[in-house]
Symmetry: C2
Subunit: 390 residues, 2 copies
């Protein structure tokens, strides 16, 4: 590398303070480079023939998706819908802080078309989350991965990233994920499943017998000796009006619950009793979110992050959820793939139609697994527990 003497090659034409995180990609149709860059409450496209001189093209995002918000780390890529290469769509991913449904930072996306001038998205007022947990931010994709789009996320949230009881870091990356587009009720959504290369981490596998669960079936010490790094796969058929879930716990009465609530049409991850959670009391909302809180309070309403989460205790101790309407209509059985790695739980439902990433801080590794059902029997089939290691 020789540092270019003409730096910076680009400054915002309006002197914006929040202008950052450029992502450069080759736009084959126009035979030139494009850059997408976050510009406060919108993203901007620039293009260039030589990567030195950049021309402004257009902007997108003001007032779109989740509001209020502020953008960071935008990304832009093309994907086939349902794998059909004759039906390619452009996807813009935006990391927003604040704006998370559950408070703080998160990744949303827009699906639409791009003609080299303007990105258009017919349902840009909709809010689409790439991941429904609280700890999935600054997600960007790799370049030069052929037809595949592979993303990597930072597992934390600006609400409490500086408060988490990590000693070694300020948040690790999540598992790499492969993004695909699927159509659901006439709209386009991203699925974010774990990249299949991750399966090579499976060291030992224990297959459990299929279980019809009335109340609960406990497997004490099932993941003992796995050092808190394991994967649980299962096909779960909850009662049509019931709750069916998996509890992972340690012997310190700390636990994370992952459950389907069929009456609510939600899959939920509850970390209220997952381990250390007091630090969440010190979380301070972003100024933008604080202003929003005040506005809602004036209307006699609770903060959105309180209302939108389940079992809210503080900004860390809460449950996150995703709507099961993202899965195929009429489904009765859901495939879950849960990756636990000491202080993270990454849930993938039905091949990533729902992804949900949450940090947890148990004081001892989770080593017990319990299947449970309420309000009706649940069926748990094809249960595999893998020890994960390098």
């Amino acid at each position: 590398f020789t540092k270019y003497e003409g730096n910076p090659v680009l400054t915002p034409f309006d002197g914006l303070k929040d202008f950052r995180d450029p992502k450069v990609f080759w736009y084959e149709k126009g035979k030139c480079w494009y850059m997408i860059v976050s510009a406060d409450k919108e993203t901007r496209f620039y293009k260039s023939k030589n990567l030195k001189k950049w021309d402004y093209v257009s902007a997108f995002g003001k007032g779109m998706g989740q509001q209020p918000c502020q953008y960071e780390c935008p990304d832009f890529f093309q994907l086939p819908v349902n794998g059909d290469k004759n039906n390619m769509k452009w996807v813009m991913t935006m990391n927003i802080n604040p704006g998370c449904w559950f408070g703080g930072s998160a990744t949303e996306y827009f699906v639409g078309d791009f003609d080299g001038k303007q990105f258009t998205c017919p349902d840009a007022k909709d809010v689409k989350w790439m991941d429904w947990g609280k700890d999935h931010y600054a997600t960007v994709t790799f370049s030069n991965t052929g037809d595949r789009v592979l993303a990597i996320t930072w597992m934390s949230n600006w609400q409490y990233a500086n408060l988490t009881p990590f000693k070694q870091n300020r948040g690790a990356n999540g598992l790499p994920r492969e993004l695909k587009l699927f159509e659901n009720n006439g709209k386009y959504y991203l699925s974010e499943d774990v990249a299949p290369e991750v399966y090579s981490l499976r060291k030992t596998t224990r297959t459990l017998a299929n279980e019809t669960v009335d109340e609960s079936k406990a497997f004490a010490s099932l993941t003992a000796g796995m050092d808190g790094a394991f994967e649980i796969e299962a096909d779960i058929t909850p009662d049509a009006n019931g709750i069916a879930g998996i509890e992972i716990s340690n012997n310190k009465r700390e636990r994370t619950l992952i459950y389907f609530d069929m009456k609510q049409g939600k899959v939920v991850m509850d970390r209220t009793e997952s381990g250390l959670t007091d630090f969440g009391k010190q979380a301070v909302p972003h100024d933008i979110e604080l202003a929003w809180d005040k506005q809602l309070a004036a209307e006699g309403k609770q903060p959105a992050r309180v209302v939108n989460s389940i079992n809210y205790k503080n900004d860390f101790a809460l449950a996150t959820w995703a709507p099961l309407s993202l899965c195929q209509a009429g489904k009765k059985t859901y495939h879950v793939d849960i990756f636990v790695d000491k202080s993270s739980v990454e849930l993938f439902v039905d091949g990533g139609r729902i992804a949900m990433t949450n940090l947890v801080f148990p004081v001892a590794p989770y080593e017990n697994v319990k299947l449970y059902a309420k309000g009706g029997k649940a069926q748990f089939n094809n249960i595999n527990v893998h020890k994960l290691a390098l």
Copy 2:
């Protein structure tokens, strides 16, 4: 003071390591001084004419009351039963660590007779707690208070005294308390009510209307502006099979519950969601308690402190309780007097027949009060809320 050149005036005849906390009192009948001193798993009496030469008299306590245990800070005083000066009894109080019903340290007592040679207690196998909370230890009485016996306690527990999120101290003293003896079902018990001098701290008083509570009646901001230091008095008549309680909370979703559970015959204080509680996860049991845990585990049983407390989450996050059988039989209405002082909650039921002291660490002062009932209506009468200050 001139330091006595013959110190120490007393050493244990058997070279015991745990020999400490002497309490000296004048024994009028024998016209001499007596000393009670903790000697590991018993207490010993010594007597002296000149406070210099001490003669061993007798010992008491081995295998008595709560087991296993270790004694500290013993005390010994005389009180009339039910105020009848013709029926005087001797009371030995013992601070034990471990031994607390709920884990860690606590204060128990024995009521009996003393003839200058031996303390005898007919029900010494019973366990009698001076206070039913987790934060009442090293309790001793003042000398030279005439006929009154006034005690002061240290509000903490050796399970977590070094972990509490206090910045200024390692535990404050509780409010001074006046001790009396009462007879209940043919046995003698200590009542420990707040010393009436404490009432002089009442600065402003708000009297609420009597309430018949079906589900709940909330008084938001009732104690706002009191800087977290207030007293709540009420006469509570729970439904015969119901639950009736008072919730004190702040606007950070932190709360302490004090409730009567009539089916269980218990009055309960629940601090599981009282504020900061994570530090309780680091609590380490005393070696003696740890050995006991192991013994119970070998029998397939949970640790006693887990079984004995309610809603156990960790050694701090739990609820403590006392049996309502300590109150007069056939009672339907209970008088509660609750003193909150930022990080402590001291509960006195029926003039101290039940005392319960627990630390709490809310991140903001408690300022909301809610009366609630479950499983039947409850009556709350004579509700006074006092602001407390010097």
